[in-house]
């Protein structure tokens, strides 16, 4: 169980729109659920939760203390207000340590000393910034690192099959899915041509109006 990240939670009786009051009091509503765990509305202290949740990903094991019991949990979802960026709600999934779990794990790209970037001014495009994995909770990796220095030329790719996955972890993505690709930078000539072509286009509206609909009927 994770000793690094520990959160203390209390049971929550308040549900629905009334949780606004909890938020005003500096508390963060959440829910705990999982295999053989009854879904339980919980509340945690906002400040400590925000500090902890800033560092954890979707594959980081946390310890949630509730009613004197300790649950190993994953943060399944964090709801954030789009403007204030305050946390609104958090989902904790309780895990059984002897059962495999599926989750998303972040892909971290090491983009230093990439020959394609140095020699051809390529742009590294990260297509998959996270991959779905399945493993036992004890084997959960924080992230999967990809060394992009194998990308020699423009068009070179790193696929899921090339990922360096720790033992005991199964990646559930298609092995041929592209994770990182070295793409060519847009040339100045292309940009201008595009702009000119765009100038000439008239607003064309193909109306799928009554006539067609009636014909279909």
């Amino acid at each position: 169980m994770s000793d690094q990240y520990v959160l203390e939670a209390n049971r929550r009786e308040v549900t629905g729109k009334k949780v606004k009051r909890l938020r005003r009091e500096g508390k963060l509503p959440g829910i705990l659920y999982g295999h053989k765990v009854e879904p339980t509305p919980v509340v945690v202290d906002y400040r400590t939760a925000a500090k902890v949740l800033r560092d954890v990903g979707t594959s980081t094991l946390l310890t949630l203390k509730l009613d004197g019991k300790e649950y190993p949990v994953l943060v399944r979802e964090q709801q954030v207000d789009v403007l204030s960026r305050q946390l609104l709600h958090v989902d904790f999934q309780a895990l059984a340590m002897d059962e495999t779990v599926r989750t998303q794990v972040d892909v971290v790209v090491l983009d230093e000393n990439v020959p394609a970037v140095k020699n051809y001014s390529a742009i590294l495009t990260v297509v998959l910034d996270s991959v779905e994995i399945e493993c036992l909770p004890k084997d959960l990796p924080e992230n999967i690192t990809v060394d992009a220095s194998v990308l020699q030329e423009i068009g070179d790719t790193i696929t899921v099959a090339d990922l360096n996955v720790p033992a005991g972890v199964t990646v559930l993505e298609d092995p041929e899915s592209v994770v990182v690709v070295a793409t060519a930078p847009e040339s100045a000539a292309e940009e201008e041509a595009e702009a000119e072509a765009e100038e000439g286009v008239e607003p064309e509206v193909i109306e799928k109006g009554k006539g067609e609909e009636e014909a279909e009927e």
Binding site: V80, V82, E186, E191
Partner: protein, 141 residues
């Protein structure tokens, strides 16, 4: 300029701009983004001007993503015409933007100062107030 290839109806009603953005409010492609802080219509011309300002500021480093699409036809009555005689002609296309909407993203290894400068220049071309956000701080606090 951006516009739909085909539409079901030629003209639309204006509609109301209530609430905050629910979709398209998270950074999904790049590392830095321009987020709208107020509701409004962003015209295809503004989007194009912002895109040009960004690509020019970035000088072929990194990549730009446009997260809004102008799919709303905005009509205007002809000058000095009397009321009635039907709705005016389509003048331009606009994207409906609500507070929180991510409008542009930049990324692909572009340095932070360049990205922020590009997004700031882009924000001057738009008719809605906006702010620059980074991926690291998009969640948590």
């Amino acid at each position: 300029m951006l516009m739909p290839k085909r539409v079901k109806y030629r003209k639309q009603m204006r509609g109301r701009l209530k609430g905050k953005a629910r979709r398209g409010a998270e950074i999904n492609f790049g590392e830095y983004a321009l987020q709208a802080l107020e509701p409004g219509w962003v015209s295809a011309r503004q989007i194009e001007a912002a895109r040009r300002a960004m690509t020019r500021a970035m000088r072929r480093r990194g990549k730009v993503w446009i997260r809004i699409f102008p799919d709303k036809p905005i009509t205007k009555r002809a000058a000095e015409s009397r009321m009635g005689k039907g709705k005016g002609a389509v003048e331009y296309w606009a994207a409906v933007v609500k507070p929180g909407r991510i409008m542009f993203e930049v990324g692909g290894g572009v340095p932070e100062d360049v990205a922020r400068r590009a997004l700031r220049l882009a924000s001057y071309k738009l008719s809605v107030k906006s702010r620059i956000i980074a991926l690291e701080t998009a969640e948590g606090e």
